[in-house]
């Protein structure tokens, strides 16, 4: 039996009293960790201690399969086997690991597992007895679809990995786990498909994840900001999803996923601008419908970014563009208006944004009422009071509705932010100002990269082959190759699969 030395190490010593004392020193102040000493009769014939979390461990399993087995039922003995090996072989528990590090034992217990230490053994048995999380796999709440799978990630990493594995039961699926957060010690998993994802991108993701030094990672959003190429850009450069099918599809395109224990959102990288305008449903509906919807989304993007600016530019500077009938009507509604169009639009935009934010924060039924009734009441009141003209209200409402048509909330939010400076420059310089503002924005987008992949691709740089799945969505049988960001443009669909009516009929 090793004698505990004066030097404090992270290792268990095999002296039960000493090891228990050290573990108690670390774990007892937590308040929710229990130490259960007991004597394991022959053939073990030694004292032992079971350490477990009072709230997270499955106490019934520990009672039934560990304590009862060791204390009441006789273990089958193997001649000359060590005590710990006897216990390990005899326990009817599926997942048991062994480790001799005190910090690992501590960590495992705090995560809801149990540790068993036996007199004379400098190794602890870690019994995976964590109680399953309460939340079951449910429908995605922020990425719902009319047609398609309805499985969303949950807060439990193991369950999330199972969901991915269920969709991609291939040996190519690689799962690399690391631990981040000095205090939270959260499990972070990088997933990719070997042979499909580009090794350079996988390495880059791994390096960026590994280089994060932080006290706690409570959600995948924490990592996102550490991993972006251009942190000061208003545009998101990493995509997140709660849909399992979306992550599986991203992996099949050669992208890399990152999951964090405790977060129902997976990160996907690289992320290009077009990815934020695509929805899972695009691939489940027929291509004609999917393409039409995508075109509408691109239109919505332009409207949500530019509609108020365009309206202000033409009504205040380029009135000659407006058809005469509409111009007369506009002039009539603006008679006696106290503010210029720009101020009107700015006020209405600000009011709309406040209402929207209020609607999100309030409980769902109240929130809906606030945003709908509030919008109507404020708009109507503003028109009645002569503060805003009805067309401004229509434009602002159209802008707001268009931003809801975008599948990615984070992109819609970026556009909301950018709308205001563009509005100001359009009011001052008219359409040339609007055009230059758009060009500066385009330049910014062209300068962005996500894990080295140009953000504006496949439009700039132009990759014509990938236009099949950008604004358009070609039929499945025509999308033969994976995107170039994967390891080369590998084939994903066999040739000549375009369906035809049977010959001879």
């Amino acid at each position: 039996m090793p004698t505990p030395g004066r030097r404090i190490t992270d290792r268990l010593t095999g002296n039960l009293a000493h090891d228990t004392k050290r573990l108690r020193k670390v774990l007892e102040p937590c308040g929710d960790v229990a130490f259960r000493p007991f004597f394991a009769p022959e053939p073990v014939g030694l004292p032992a201690v079971l350490i477990y979390s009072k709230h997270n461990a499955d106490k019934a399993l520990l009672q039934r399969e560990v304590l009862e087995t060791l204390m009441i039922r006789a273990l089958r003995s193997t001649p000359d086997a060590e005590a710990l090996a006897l216990v390990e072989q005899g326990l009817p528990v599926l997942h048991v690991e062994s480790d001799s590090s005190i910090s690992t034992v501590t960590d495992s217990v705090l995560r809801g597992n149990a540790a068993l230490i036996v007199e004379g053994s400098a190794t602890a048995l870690l019994i995976m007895a964590k109680k399953p999380a309460a939340r079951q796999v449910a429908e995605p709440s922020t990425e719902s679809v009319v047609r398609g799978p309805r499985e969303a990630f949950v807060e439990e990493l193991e369950k999330n990995l199972n969901l991915i594995r269920k969709r991609l039961p291939t040996e190519r699926l690689r799962v690399e786990t690391t631990r981040l957060g000095k205090i939270s010690r959260s499990n972070v998993v990088i997933v990719w498909l070997d042979g499909i994802a580009d090794n350079g991108i996988v390495d880059e993701v791994r390096n960026r994840v590994m280089s994060i030094k932080i006290d706690a990672v409570l959600d995948s959003g924490y990592l996102e900001e550490f991993m972006e190429d251009s942190p000061f850009s208003p545009f998101p450069q990493i995509e997140h999803t709660e849909r399992t099918d979306k992550l599986a599809s991203a992996l099949l395109e050669g992208r890399v996923g990152v999951l964090v224990d405790g977060s129902p959102y997976a990160l996907m990288a690289p992320a290009l601008l077009v990815h934020f305008l695509q929805s899972s449903e695009d691939y489940y509906e027929r291509f004609i419908l999917a393409t039409s919807v995508r075109v509408i989304r691109f239109g919505a993007l332009l409207i949500s970014l530019l509609a108020p600016s365009f309206y202000v530019a033409i009504t205040s500077i380029h009135q000659e563009m407006i058809p005469i009938g509409l111009a007369l009507r506009l002039a009539g509604t603006r008679e006696g208006a106290p503010f210029p169009v720009f101020v009107e639009a700015l006020l209405m935009e600000a009011a709309f944004e406040i209402l929207r934010e209020a609607g999100i924060r309030l409980p769902a039924p109240v929130g809906q009422a606030v945003s709908i009734v509030g919008g109507l009441v404020v708009g109507e009141a503003a028109v009645q009071a002569g503060v805003a003209n009805p067309i401004t209200v229509v434009i602002v409402a159209l802008t707001g509705i268009s931003s809801f048509a975008l599948p990615a909330y984070n992109l819609a939010f970026s556009l909301r932010l950018l709308r205001f400076p563009i509005l100001a420059i359009s009011a001052a310089m008219g359409l040339p100002g609007l055009a230059v503002a758009c060009m500066v924005l385009l330049t910014h987008l062209a300068s962005l990269r996500s894990f080295g992949v140009p953000y504006l691709s496949p439009f700039g740089p132009a990759r014509f082959g990938e236009w099949k799945d950008a604004v358009l969505r070609a039929p499945w049988w025509a999308m033969l190759l994976r995107p170039r960001m994967a390891r080369g443009r590998t084939r994903r669909i066999g040739r000549h699969q375009k369906p035809r009516p049977p010959v001879g009929n």
Binding site: I314, I317, H318, E320, M321, I322, P323, I324, M429, G430, L431, P432, G433, L434, A435, V436, A437, C438, M439, V440, L442, T443, H444, A446, S447, P454, L456, F459, G460, P461, A462
Partner: protein, 367 residues
């Protein structure tokens, strides 16, 4: 080092040549007689293509090297730097002209109450941002802008086509070749806008394909200008077309979309702004790269802001009225002002390099 694809070179070359032409299609304006502006434009394109071919094929012999570096190697550091300075100066002049003409049109037609300085600063400052990011980024922006420019111009011509009369193009060469040849001088001289192709090609990922792309880009722009000139003449008639300062812009003003869009010119202005933005950004990138090499600097970016400021200030001093621009671009002035540089700079450089290569060959042969 930045690298751009052959396709991106083609796009930039096209936009460099076509952006200004979007509003100020010059051939009909400078035709002395008859409706043969488009023939003049085609002849000018052929001459221009010859010059682009000379610039591009000599550039590809020394891949990854800019004309400035080649000048210095070919004729020595002092003379090479002087030639390089002239080369950069011409590109700088082109930048100033582009920025000034942009402001000039906007104050002469759609927004006369806004000071020209506002538009000059607006365009130059925006392009400065793109030039700061570099050629790769500017090329990507160009790729996105190109379809908008093509669709915009196409739509205007399509809508105007119902009022075009092909008979206005007759009699073809009714006054002989001379008026057409004389008209071709300005379009040919305007290929000085493509002097910076040598700098662009030094950043080509695949120089040989880039040469072909540059030639295709220049040819496509030339053909579109010729086609546009024919369209203008068919719409206005050759006499009327000669009197209009900005023919294509005026054409855009004339067309309507049903009873809904009664004026297309502001939309056309958007497209023109986008094209000019890419052009000025590319030119600013070229000037700053050239100056960096002339001055032996390590980094190009610190020069972008000062050069943009210089461009803004000097462009405002270039001319006072549109009449001066019309004179400057006329066949009597422009070809003789820029022609010697357009032919001389690439020609002398090619000659100097040829002599240098022969000397080196002789040295190698001599024991």
């Amino acid at each position: 080092m930045e690298r751009i694809s052959a396709w991106q070179i083609g796009v930039l070359v096209f936009l460099l040549r076509f952006s200004q032409a979007i509003v100020s299609l010059t051939p009909p304006k400078y035709t002395t007689k008859g409706p043969d502006a488009w023939i003049g434009a085609l002849i000018g394109t052929l001459v221009g293509l010859g010059i682009v071919w000379l610039i591009a094929t000599t550039a590809v012999l020394e891949p990854n090297r800019t004309p400035i570096e080649r000048w210095i190697t070919a004729i020595g550091p002092v003379l090479g730097r002087i030639a390089g300075a002239i080369y950069v100066g011409i590109i700088l002049l082109n930048t100033m002209l582009t920025v000034r003409m942009y402001g000039g049109l906007l104050i002469s037609q759609p927004m006369p109450e806004t000071p020209v300085e506002a538009f000059v600063v607006l365009l130059a400052a925006g392009a400065c941002y793109a030039a700061w990011h570099g050629l790769e980024v500017t090329a990507r922006v160009g790729e996105v802008v190109l379809p908008l420019v093509l669709v915009g111009v196409g739509v205007v011509f399509f809508l105007a086509s119902r009022d075009m009369d092909p008979r206005a193009l007759k009699p073809m060469l009714g006054w002989g070749w001379w008026p057409a040849i004389r008209t071709s001088l300005t379009p040919a001289a305007l290929y000085f806008e493509l002097l910076c192709v040598g700098l662009l090609l030094s950043r080509a990922a695949n120089p040989k394909r880039a040469v072909r792309a540059a030639l295709i880009g220049a040819a496509a722009a030339g053909v579109m200008i010729a086609g546009g000139s024919a369209g203008i003449v068919m719409f206005y008639g050759s006499e009327e077309a000669r009197r209009i300062a900005f023919p294509l812009y005026d054409l855009a003003r004339s067309v309507t979309v049903g009873d809904f869009l009664e004026r297309m010119d502001p939309l056309f202005m958007l497209i023109w702004t986008m094209g000019s933005f890419v052009k000025v950004a590319t030119l600013l990138w070229s000037v700053t790269l050239g100056l960096t090499q002339l001055l032996g600097l390590q980094e190009r970016r610190p020069l972008v802001m000062p050069i943009t400021l210089f461009c803004i200030l000097t462009s405002l001093l270039l001319y006072d009225s549109q009449a001066e621009v019309t004179t400057l671009f006329s066949p009597q002035v422009l070809p003789w002002v820029v022609g010697p540089f357009l032919l001389g700079l690439p020609g002398v450089l090619a000659l100097a390099e040829l002599v240098q290569r022969q000397r080196q060959r002789r040295r190698r042969v001599a024991p």
